[in-house]
Symmetry: D2
Subunit: 303 residues, 4 copies
């Protein structure tokens, strides 16, 4: 991290990158990387194991898996299906409960603001089974396993007047799922990760994360059941973009002047702006289908 | 009621009309009618006071107010505003709690099927205040009174896998409103009442009512707080239309043949059909704005 | 045809059915039927060859191919793909011009009224190539053939103030396509044909047909290039439904009374109503994808 | 203008600002400014009179009126109505033809990408009269004047395969309007002008302008009738934002190093990004209503 401007990212792996060129020892954090050349997919596993690691990474203790698949931004159905398969496998590894588990999927975000609509759109494409299994038994799903999938799009506070936490907690208490899966649009630091990166984590979602900024965490502590967060970065803060462009440029300048420069650079009027690719609407639609497919696969087909 | 086909209507006043030409005494039911010539608005007050009345009317004990305003189907902003005012007054008369009441509005129905989208669209136009009052106090609303308005669009069972009742009860328990107001699209018997009739009732909504057919009632008994239902008929069952057309025709025939005729007339393939005006999309949009205005007025402005 | 009420249908094959039980000789009309048992698809070929035939059938001289595929109303991707293939073959047989033809597709109807939105939605899913072929040559399309596909959604007269004919004729003159393909939502007589029947014709579209009722024909005579019409019935007139229900019932009554009965039966207030299946929104979305696939296949892949 | 990076703006007044601190004499350009303190509205009149002026301003010869009304971004119906009134007056001043003129409104842009959807949304709210006047005469409009308003949303080239110019020219030739009014979303240089600035010009629209970048001008020369362009900036290029932030910062540095710095700063990956306010969807909806109201007023009410 150069200077004092706090770069915002919801990707644990990007927080890890801050330290790559430093001599700082990142104790309490284990980072492992995989590359699948055939599919051109980078997978990063971040394990934050201690409070010290959590402070360094600015993220809660837990596991974070990030799939970077640059071709997700192009229209290639087969490739999307492959990534849906990858997502499904990682999700299964994090999912507690067996083939009979009851899973509540929460689609966070505002369905009317495209870069924030990922959660609502994923829920739209999801196969919902809880009511069928309850009414007709596992047999209703044929050869599929009998997971009871339910889903809710709670809306955002300006629409509901309620904290997302209040709504979700009420529904969790009433319907008793074994696990909650939360889908959300995220902010990344790097433009090239927009719309082609999927992060899974067993830490749920944290205050201040997501495009819409939540005030209460949705996690095992607050909901009393395991909470898995799945997110895709769809925006970069405008301030971040300027920061990075300038930081690169100024590396040749004296270190001492830099902080001052950068502090002045991020004007307040930029802070309610988002940078987003021009074709964001179609991209969101495609991504939400990929994630739904991954979820459908993970939830409904065993083996 | 002619024959044995059970005509479906969610309007209490239409159930009352069944007996108009009969000698049956409707004990336990009080019906009063008003007509405002200037506005061309008929208002019908139905009070169902006893279990006997409830059986006769096929509706729960309680109060039902119906506003019939034929001009609601035309584009006339000022007229819509006037009806919003009428709605506001009737709603105030039913609303428990004073100017500081916490009100949870539930927009029932499926936002993707136009004739069923009234509830979700009303919520879209609603002024939400609960989060503001909680954070900044009553002063946040300026001269308006300090009612804490929150709202939820729970979706339908095929989308959520959960009974609407489960979702609403969970959120009610968690957020403790003083009253719940439920908005829903209804089925009428008469084509001429489509999209120009608003029914308010203190009985909430009943199983089998609405375009989407709920299985659990949302009322004071199930939610433990008062529940007000507000609905507009947006569909007529296709079977009902045929029934009525034929019934009229056959009045000259022998009574004995009639039942048999009518039973054969309503084919099963008609039962998943709805009859709807061609311009239903725009009509729903306008109606939802009228109702929201009525709610905003009733909730936020005292006196 | 029973009685004097003029049953409305845009399907030539349904006009043919009127005469099935009569002794009338349908001279000037050739009707041939095929049934594919494996796919459960009925195909009807109607050739109207003379003016006399045109009067009897209430449709212009020309060829009409109707594909009835009951399973189109269920969600079965593979089946939809098969029907897209059928559509593609029939369309190729009607399409003039070779692999280099320039084709203008017109999506008729109102995108905001679901049962009328088929045309606009088909255009949304269409692969557009004209600008690419013009800029980069046939090679731009890879192994695909080099048809120049363009498309327009003209809107309806209430939105544009212009006859659809004026808009289309202007664009045809300016861009010189070899053939125009017009997509439209139709009215059927039979409920069981709704959303599962596709009609192709080389006669374009006629005044008064479609859900929205056009006043000017779009055909070779008016546009000076061949015009192919593709339509799916998405509505049945409410009057038609009552007519048919009652006609069946009254067959046992005296013929003489019948006409009178039926004339009274169709009330004017029914005439701006449409009967539509409850799940029309999703159905329209699926159908439009099937038709687009058929068009994409017919236009872009040779052999 | 600092450095060699070409700042993109569609606002003539912003091109004028480039020279404000320079000693360059802007011959052939007349700029006049007005300020209405009560409404907090700045109005700028730019007249480009010579070819030299056109080169300096990077805009065609003609008149440009820019209304800056910062409060347009907040929800204040009355204020929106006032600005609609201002827009109406400026538009009347530019409109050729009297109260009987035929006006074709073209809504440019892509309705599915919010920052580009201004044109299509304006057309949605427009009062269309051409078909009524043609059918029923001027009397059809009551006390309103008898302008014949028609409108078209041509779509973008990726959707149609046709140049916007081809479509519009075909429709103009066929329907013979007296004047064409083109609505488009623009790019601004300054973030604070986003969504609160309206530019009117009698030069139509130019290649490379708008969010979507057209290749052919729509103007009197190409369409053979007067063309008025109305636009609102809804995006700022991400590159522009960085440029401006850094330029400000570097003013204290040596002039000679600056060009080099800035050239490196605008990375290619930024070029397909747009910066847009988070609440862009609602903002676009409100703006389109304001502009439609202005157009309706200018077109339909005389005096």
């Amino acid at each position: 991290m150069i200077g004092k401007y706090r770069i915002r990212t919801d990707l644990a792996m990007e927080n890890g990158e801050k330290y790559e060129n430093d001599d700082v020892e990142l104790s309490g954090v284990v980072i492992r990387k995989d590359y699948n050349q055939e599919k051109d997919v980078h997978t990063t596993y971040v394990q934050i194991q201690t409070e010290h690691g959590a402070r360094m990474m600015e993220k809660p203790i837990g596991t974070y898996v990030t799939i970077e698949a640059p071709n997700l931004t192009v229209l290639d159905e087969e490739y999307h299906r492959e990534i849906a398969g990858e997502l499904s496998e990682h999700l299964r590894a994090l999912l507690p409960g067996g083939d009979e588990a009851a899973i509540l999927v929460i689609g966070l975000g505002n369905r009317d603001i495209t870069p924030d609509a990922l959660g609502p759109q994923v829920v739209e494409n999801l196969q919902i089974t809880r009511h069928l299994v309850k009414e007709y038994g596992a047999a209703a799903l044929g050869e599929k396993c009998a997971r009871k999938i339910s889903a809710l799009v709670p809306g955002v506070m300006a629409q509901t007047g309620m904290e997302t936490m209040e709504i979700v907690r009420g529904v969790v208490k009433e319907t008793n799922p074994d696990v909650v899966v939360v889908i959300d649009a995220l902010a990344a630091r790097s433009i090239r990760r927009l719309n082609c990166t999927i992060q899974l984590t067993d830490t749920g979602i944290s205050p201040g994360s997501g495009v819409g900024n939540y005030r209460n965490a949705l996690n095992q502590e607050t909901l009393k059941v395991p909470v898995i967060g799945i997110g895709v970065p769809t925006v970069v803060d405008a301030g971040t973009i300027i920061h990075d462009a300038v930081a690169e440029l100024l590396e040749s300048l004296e270190e001492s002047e830099m902080d001052e420069f950068l502090g002045e650079l991020i004007s307040p009027s930029l802070q309610s702006m988002y940078v987003t690719p021009k074709e964001i609407d179609e991209t969101i639609k495609r991504l939400s289908i990929t994630i739904s497919e991954g979820l459908n696969k993970a939830f409904l087909y065993s083996g």
